[in-house]
Symmetry: C2
Subunit: 341 residues, 2 copies
């Protein structure tokens, strides 16, 4: 099925050097993909001169301004405004010109603009950032990863609805399991907000809700979806990244430290490469903003051409229709039992 | 310098099978160490029959009751009470019979009893659980790891005092650096509680306070001390453990999956062993309860003989006097500037 992705060409630490080449790489691999680049037309066309691509699959829309990596969300909305490449890129999905928007730009600004332009789905107070977290056999959907520092119990339940709907679509599962991140599995653990959310999620997701999951359960894949607030989610995500980097450092340390280690490394090189691939953060580049009337994908700001192309390829697998119809169904179910309480 | 460690012989998933042998193993390695076992005298003496040890270094004090792994803290205090091995073990430091207490039992109960028996140091409202977090070159002190789910900004500053004093003693550093865990390094990030704590810590620790640190900074060792609330700290710790386990699984997966991988593994075996040692959680077994009038060390409940012996050996390196004199100095300094505000 053909997909049109709108791309904030100016976003990210490396701007068009990464976004344009990344998009062209993705289009080489996925034939049904076409893109709209938003950004400085002259620079984009200059860049495209050196790249092989099919002209009918690329549209360029000029935007005068750029949201910088350190622009505050409020300034991205009020000061930089509608002329930015980020705004244009998101607006394209609001206008139905593209299926999904993608940017490697400033996360806070992207979330701010996305919320202003697309608005949240009825019944969802706040959009959340979700990501696929690797485990032994597959992945889990984890959210929120940083958009909402403080949340109510009802918002946690809403994140549950978002994550569950997303998991159903992205994993093609009829009844994904869902858990709530906490510091123990006993009922009395955690804050009142979490305890209250747990009761509500039990009612809403019935058997698919498996209760509390702990930090180590994230990587053990205890449930298909893990719900948490944006503060905890962000700390957990970055802690996992830091741990993986530390172990990577230990590995090169011990295998570079002795002759036998070096030899073992040379002989087992393909295994080491497989390990590196498994741990390559570029393979899973792309946080999805859920809860809006339109899908926005956030690529890592510092990613490279391969990483950006992976984020685009990943985007093409998402279906806004599937996800939002499930979200609406669950919100109706939630309203239904709330009216009975 | 001679150290006497009081041991809750009945605590942990494996009780005396681990605690007695672990203690005897530690005593073999550390000649200045002697222990007092609290627990079922008959069982302990029976167990000791099969182990080599020097009689003058072991005392056994009989306790009738045991705090089980699932006993609630309030029940450990009110129902099980003073006759438990856990109570006896902590009480020994309150009575000056031992230098440090150690238990592999139920964390919540151990913290509850420790607080009741030892009381917090004046100026410290709540005790915190701290641990040494490995990084590239050394370790950081991270706290709180689960004792205090919700905290005030002032309690975060108090945790800072505890962690800083502990780091000074355990790393023998005059001016350790200290950071506050947050989801970004910019001033406006995080909750109001964190922002307020940051201002206070800047005043108290001046140049040693490096501001906010993020989740990945834990493993990168950006500061000697990292302060957070018990909810976030617990999630971060378990997330790191889960990530390390997942990578361990990936490693055996890729190296067991091909002939060249297996061969590389065989040749690089010593390097793999070094890696395994570096990642062995038993090497760092021991969370220290800080802020009380006496040091209590919590060993992992599921640890084995080696792990328990490591926790004991680690305990012998701690000095309650050094740590608490520094804590008192910092509390006086804090009171001083608070009176000026």
């Amino acid at each position: 099925m053909e997909k049109i992705i709108s791309i904030d060409a100016m976003g990210g630490d490396n701007g068009i050097d990464v976004t344009i080449e990344g998009a062209c790489l993705a289009m080489k691999r996925q034939k049904e993909l076409s893109v709209i680049f938003f950004g400085n037309e002259r620079l984009i066309i200059e860049k495209l001169k050196n790249i092989e691509y099919s002209k009918d699959k690329i549209e360029v829309i000029h935007c005068d301004k750029v949201v910088e990596m350190d622009t505050k969300p409020i300034d991205a909305i009020r000061r930089v405004g509608k002329e930015s490449s980020m705004w244009g890129c998101i607006n394209a999905i609001s206008e139905g010109k593209a299926d999904i928007a993608i940017s490697a730009g400033n996360t806070g600004a992207l979330m701010g603009l996305s919320t202003i332009i697309l608005r949240t789905i009825d019944g969802i107070e706040r959009a959340a950032i979700s990501s696929l977290w690797p485990n032994k056999t597959s992945h889990s959907v984890v959210l929120d990863l940083g958009a909402n520092v403080e949340v109510t119990s009802d918002q946690l339940v809403q994140f549950g609805i978002l994550g569950y709907s997303y998991a159903k679509s992205v994993f093609s599962k009829n009844d994904p399991t869902i858990g709530l991140l906490n510091i123990g599995h006993e009922e009395m653990k955690g804050t009142e907000i979490i305890q209250d959310a747990s009761l509500k999620m039990k009612e809403l997701f019935s058997r698919d809700y498996i209760g509390y999951v702990e930090g180590d359960n994230l990587s053990l894949g205890k449930s298909d979806v893990v719900v948490t607030d944006g503060f905890t989610g962000n700390i957990a995500l970055k802690t996992a990244e830091g741990t993986a980097r530390l172990i990577g450092h230990f590995i090169s340390d011990v295998f570079g430290g002795s002759t036998m280690g070096k030899l073992g490394y040379l002989i087992g090189k393909s295994a080491f490469r497989a390990l590196k691939d498994k741990m390559d953060p570029r393979e899973l580049n792309g946080g999805v903003f859920l809860g809006l009337n339109g899908l926005v994908v956030k690529s890592h700001g510092g990613t490279d051409i391969l990483g950006f192309s992976k984020a685009i390829e990943f985007s093409t697998k998402l279906s806004q229709n599937d996800i939002s119809s499930e979200i609406k169904k669950l919100i109706a179910k939630k309203k239904d039992y709330e009216s009975k309480d």
